[in-house]
Symmetry: C2
């Protein structure tokens, strides 16, 4: 079994924790040198664990992805496909509002150099979303000209709109409603 050395694990977690703290303080720059200094470890160590800003982002987004998947699994089992779809859309918005790293990962085309974890999370979610979407379509009232990708883009767009807002959480359900009404078939 090829496991990581204890100090490596410790330092990796330390970087992640420091990065989260920095983001919570409003510093989105995620400068790896700066994180190293803040975490009290060497720059080389940080760069070894996270060769790029992007790699760090994906690791930061990991828990949000897990939460999203858990939620989507529940949602996909709901009796009413529309309710399930709504729940998934809402969770996507909520996660984006609460986690900038997740936002950046989910709002970007799957990168070629993405971590295996990120890729598999994306695929797992895409499958769940597609299933719910399919059921919702069969239940009627979903626009015919919307692909799963379209919906993905539109949700990210709605999250973007919310971020422009002075109080995103206050606007969440209103904007979600606009999106939701928009993806119904027009009479």
């Amino acid at each position: 079994m090829t496991s990581m050395r204890a100090d490596a694990v410790r330092n990796r977690d330390l970087v992640l924790a420091t990065a989260r703290r920095a983001m919570a303080e409003g510093d989105m720059s995620l400068q790896l040198n700066d994180l190293a200094r803040r975490a009290g470890i060497g720059v080389g160590t940080v760069y070894r664990h996270f060769p790029t800003r992007r790699a760090l982002l994906e690791s930061l987004a990991e828990p949000a992805f897990t939460a999203l998947l858990d939620d989507a699994r529940v949602a996909s089992l709901r009796e009413d496909a529309w309710t399930g779809l709504r729940q998934i859309l809402r969770t996507l918005l909520v996660q984006q509002l609460s986690d900038p790293a997740f936002t950046e990962v989910i709002s970007t085309s799957p990168a070629l150099d993405a971590s295996p974890d990120t890729t598999s999370h994306r695929e797992a979610f895409a499958d769940l979303a597609q299933a719910v979407l399919e059921r919702a379509r069969q239940a009627g009232a979903l626009r015919l000209d919307l692909t799963p990708d379209d919906l993905h883009h539109l949700v990210c767009g709605t999250a973007f709109a919310l971020r422009l807002t002075p109080d995103p959480n206050a606007c969440l359900d209103r904007y979600l409603q606009v999106l939701f009404d928009g993806i119904r078939t027009t009479a």
Copy 2:
């Protein structure tokens, strides 16, 4: 009359042209040092005309703003307020798809250090939009819980969604329709 020196005007235009060329080539970084080199003028000259990346962006966005205003004036005079509103929303999307600088300016809260031109353009547009919105509301069928700002955010969100797309122009009218249906009153 306090006019600019001829060489100053020339160099300013040169920087703008160089920046546009760079953006057309897909380089969004707008590094002022780099632009200076490309334009064949001194760094100091570039920084004098455009102290920040933001100032440059606003100048680049100027023509798009003018086009938007021209269009909005026409739209606001239309018989049918809904048609006018739709036209304005569409133009906002089209301009954002064709001009990244405009996109960045319009998708941002009015900055305190914004140029007078940008500020007055924004205000003029806000007035026109508000008027059309008001008429559309009276014509019925517009959600009651949407402020002009909400609509602004949602349009920028839709533009963001379009940018995630492989072929934004192909999706434009589809996504616009989703937005448009979303802002109607639900039955």
